[in-house]
Symmetry: C2
Subunit: 218 residues, 2 copies
């Protein structure tokens, strides 16, 4: 089962490795593969790709071709452009794990919030895709290794208009070890989980490390 | 030690009783005491006040006179007007437990969000008061009886510019039984906790009752 992961930042890399560890055929998509692979500093993509030969590398569209699920691990601000370039086949599930973070000030804010969300923007922009928002409420490592935070004792949310697509994502979340998954409803509920980021970024200072996330205590 | 609670909704009532149960001298403030007390339906204020004679009733300013702490339990939209009417003495701690909820549409949204917050609005509007935002992330009953949710195993946040005022509120939270209290920083961090409401309101449907709140899993 082929999975595409769009984006080569720390988020895309962590998610690619986590999904490959489940035995999935993962291809990571980058705007310019040759350029990305040529970067070979300690933390650069070329070095990472060489150490992770089990993961394919291609353009956004090469990665997405025949993928049953495409993960949006791009920066929120470039998500629409990247997904457009990927030319993803209609009906494909787009798992959106990005946040609409605006880094132009000091403390980040959100470039859509309250009456809109990145998840909704993507669903409107790509009506043929089945957008499911999830995993955007935690640091990348915990998305695929939930035991890293409180032994996995936290809540993971899904939002989306298509129940079958959400079921597919929830099955994947279960395989990854997510223990408490709440289906919030349609894609407009991404307004809720993306807004959690406004508190998350303000917890980084007091907590000193990104290994925390939300549990719905009840 | 006199405490004023501004607002006679279910929030103000629950908090008044909880604080009175700590042995504090609580006066609940309402715009028109005579009018409020005249309402004697099953869920009306007059009935509640008759059943809770340990709690004083007065105008906003009568309630606030000589109070060491004033709780803003008013609807977000009328908070500025109510607090202005209360004529609270400079230096008093204003514990803001309200949210800037906009109920004019269907699903509520926030009338300030992302780059502003109700907490900040109040601090700007009343620079002589020491505003501390807290408790706005849970249903009213749990604010004063935290054991009602997950045996109290959740996180409570404080935001504010004045460390002594936050320490006073944190001491009160401890007396009420709040186990995990995180000081997020200055009053701008209220942007984070108020935004949690956007996810909270979307959990009401899936969870079916308001007895849930956020735990920072870590």
């Amino acid at each position: 089962m082929k999975i595409a992961v769009l984006g080569t930042s720390m988020v895309g890399r962590a998610v690619s490795v986590g999904l490959a560890n489940l035995g999935l055929d993962v291809v990571i998509g980058t705007r310019e593969p040759t350029e990305s692979l040529a970067r070979t500093g300690a933390e650069d993509f070329g070095t990472w790709a060489a150490m992770n030969g089990q993961i394919g590398v291609g353009t956004y569209s090469e990665a997405s071709r025949d993928a049953v699920l495409v993960v949006n691990a791009l920066n929120g601000a470039v998500s629409v452009a990247g997904i457009r370039a990927a030319q993803i086949a209609d009906g494909t599930v787009l798992l959106d794990i990005a946040n609409p973070l605006d880094f132009t000030g000091g403390m980040p804010s959100l470039f859509v919030c309250n009456d809109n969300s990145l998840g909704e923007q993507l669903q409107r922009e790509f009506p043929g895709l089945r957008v499911v928002k999830s995993l955007n409420t935690m640091t990348a490592a915990a998305m695929v290794e939930p035991h890293l935070i409180a032994d996995g004792d936290f809540t993971t949310f899904v939002s989306g208009n298509d129940d079958a697509a959400k079921a597919q994502v929830m099955s994947l979340l279960g395989s990854l070890g997510h223990q408490d998954v709440i289906d919030l409803g349609d894609i407009t509920t991404a307004r809720g989980t993306e807004a959690l980021m406004l508190a998350w970024i303000r917890l980084m200072g007091p907590l000193g490390a990104p290994y925390f996330t939300w549990k719905v205590a009840r």
